[in-house]
Symmetry: C2
Subunit: 324 residues, 2 copies
């Protein structure tokens, strides 16, 4: 089985690749080839018996998808995207990378003969916009209030239509906000949810741009990789025609995040959090959902963390080398 | 005020143009220029003091929208579309005409300086897919089960995002199935809903491809024109950011349609309906919704007919010259 990951240099893409290189299986299928692509060359992964290829490619260029799909990968993890803050700030880039690239990919698949790969598409809870009930049921309409949410909601619709037509086997995952993201802050407006834990855990100062009563929907990077792998091997008959799923997550307030930080790393860590309200981020975050039923995804076996102590422990184990 | 109608040679486009030429007003605004465009040249309308232009243009060609928008119309009725049956049968054409043309139009508007026209976009109840509650509330998710529904649902998302960004003043209308459509049957899978009344009212045989217990959501062409005009003049502050509305309609079964036909034109007319089950159409129609709450649109003053007697009377008045 040949696996393709777009956005392979991103945080999730790298972690997924590491997992696949280690495990060499997707469900019952042995992985014999792995291709990663991103705008920069994905780096730092162990070689995989010479059958692992890296490409620097702009998926917003119509030729890129064609070239990748000519190799007929069996599983495609389509993770390539510009994050929310950047898609809002650069309208054209957001539409090109988050919408056009998805359409080019689906069209490249459609025009291959006798080919019907599994496509795992990462969507977002930002497809939902205020007002919403709390928790939000699976059947609640998608009325995004950001370019990023709009582009992902369109990707979902395309994925479902191409799947319905038998062009591909699509499954879309509305990921919770991933927390704690390792590495540096990114341009996502949600970046601080990780920053206020990650920086203090590394002895650094962090900025909190919103109030402590903000509640949000989280899952660890480890849960996200589990979601992607489960989506790759699940029986799509069980998923049905509405192939875009809101995934389970942990609903927690910033206050609860900080309390868990104190339990894990003490008061000194907490004192590294500096309050600095940012109205741009605050406005955006208040238009985001807090909590979901995620009934269908739960019934299909998708699982997230139960509390922030668990999320912090996962970060310490996976990123800081703490004993598990 | 300059008004542009895309799809101006279609049934709704023609009726709207006739109305605008007669009334010369949209709300408080006097119409000084009217441009119609379609794949064929719209014909048969009275001249409008020389300020009425017709263009044959393919809106799926990126240059068409640019050319039209350079004239900076104040009101744009974007009706151009390939109907449901055709969009399903010709995948590429459907995406080109129903999705690309909408995006080209919105992009042409975005790249004009200091310009923010009102854009009235016709969407469809086919953005909804089974399973659904009955009636369907305004907040029910859009999970279309046809290419046409998918393309229109994407158009809605684009319209809302471009409106949110202040690029245009968008309002999207999920029209009920228009009944009784005048003229010849079209390639829409819903065409028979009109045919079973229109053909007998004209002394002709009609084909009924589905069972009599099929229920559906209807409005007359006259109601549709009222919807479009109301959308053009309504205060968009009242509509809010979720600018795509499910419009009110009349929920009726095929049986109720036929009973109203008998009351209007007698048993002889009814005997002209020939049952000829068509599994392609039947399958498609069973995936369509029957009834909606349409709460928001009703509260904004949109109104449809109360029974099929009224819908038949409107057809007889507007198309067969019956006295009103």
């Amino acid at each position: 089985m040949h696996v393709l990951i777009t956005g392979g240099a991103g945080m999730l893409g790298c972690k997924l690749a590491q997992w696949l290189i280690q495990d060499r299986m997707i469900g019952e299928h042995e992985i014999t080839k792995l291709t990663l692509t991103d705008i920069t060359t994905p780096k730092g992964l162990p070689k995989f018996q010479g059958i692992y290829a890296e490409h620097a490619m702009d998926m917003g260029d119509p030729g890129s998808a064609k070239k990748l799909i000519q190799q007929r990968p069996d599983f495609i993890f389509h993770l390539a995207a510009v994050v929310s803050g950047e898609a809002e700030a650069d309208f054209e880039k957001g539409y090109r990378v988050n919408l056009d690239s998805t359409r080019y990919l689906l069209e490249a698949i459609r025009t291959q003969q006798d080919y019907c790969p599994r496509v795992i598409f990462t969507s977002t809870i930002a497809v939902f916009g205020v007002p919403f009930p709390n928790p939000i049921p699976d059947t609640h309409h998608r009325t995004p209030l950001s370019c990023y949410g709009t582009q992902k909601a369109i990707g979902e619709l395309l994925l479902a239509d191409y799947s319905r037509r038998g062009i591909l086997q699509g499954i879309g995952l509305r990921l919770p906000t991933i927390c704690i993201r390792p590495g540096l802050p990114n341009k996502a407006a949600s970046s601080f949810f990780s920053g206020i834990l990650r920086e203090p855990l590394n002895g650094k100062e962090a900025v909190l741009p919103v109030s402590e009563d903000v509640r949000h929907w989280h899952a660890s990077p480890r849960a996200a990789i589990r979601f992607l792998l489960h989506a790759a091997s699940i029986d799509l008959e069980l998923v049905g025609r509405d192939c875009n799923l809101t995934l389970p997550g942990l609903c927690a307030s910033v206050k609860e995040q900080i309390e868990a930080l104190e339990r894990a790393a003490g008061k000194d860590a907490v004192s590294l959090i500096r309050r600095e309200p940012d109205h741009f981020i605050e406005r955006l975050v208040y238009s985001w959902p807090e909590s979901f039923e995620a009934e269908k995804a739960r019934s299909l076996g998708f699982k997230a963390e139960k509390d922030f102590d668990e999320i912090i422990r996962i970060y310490m184990e996976d990123e800081l080398g703490a004993a598990s």
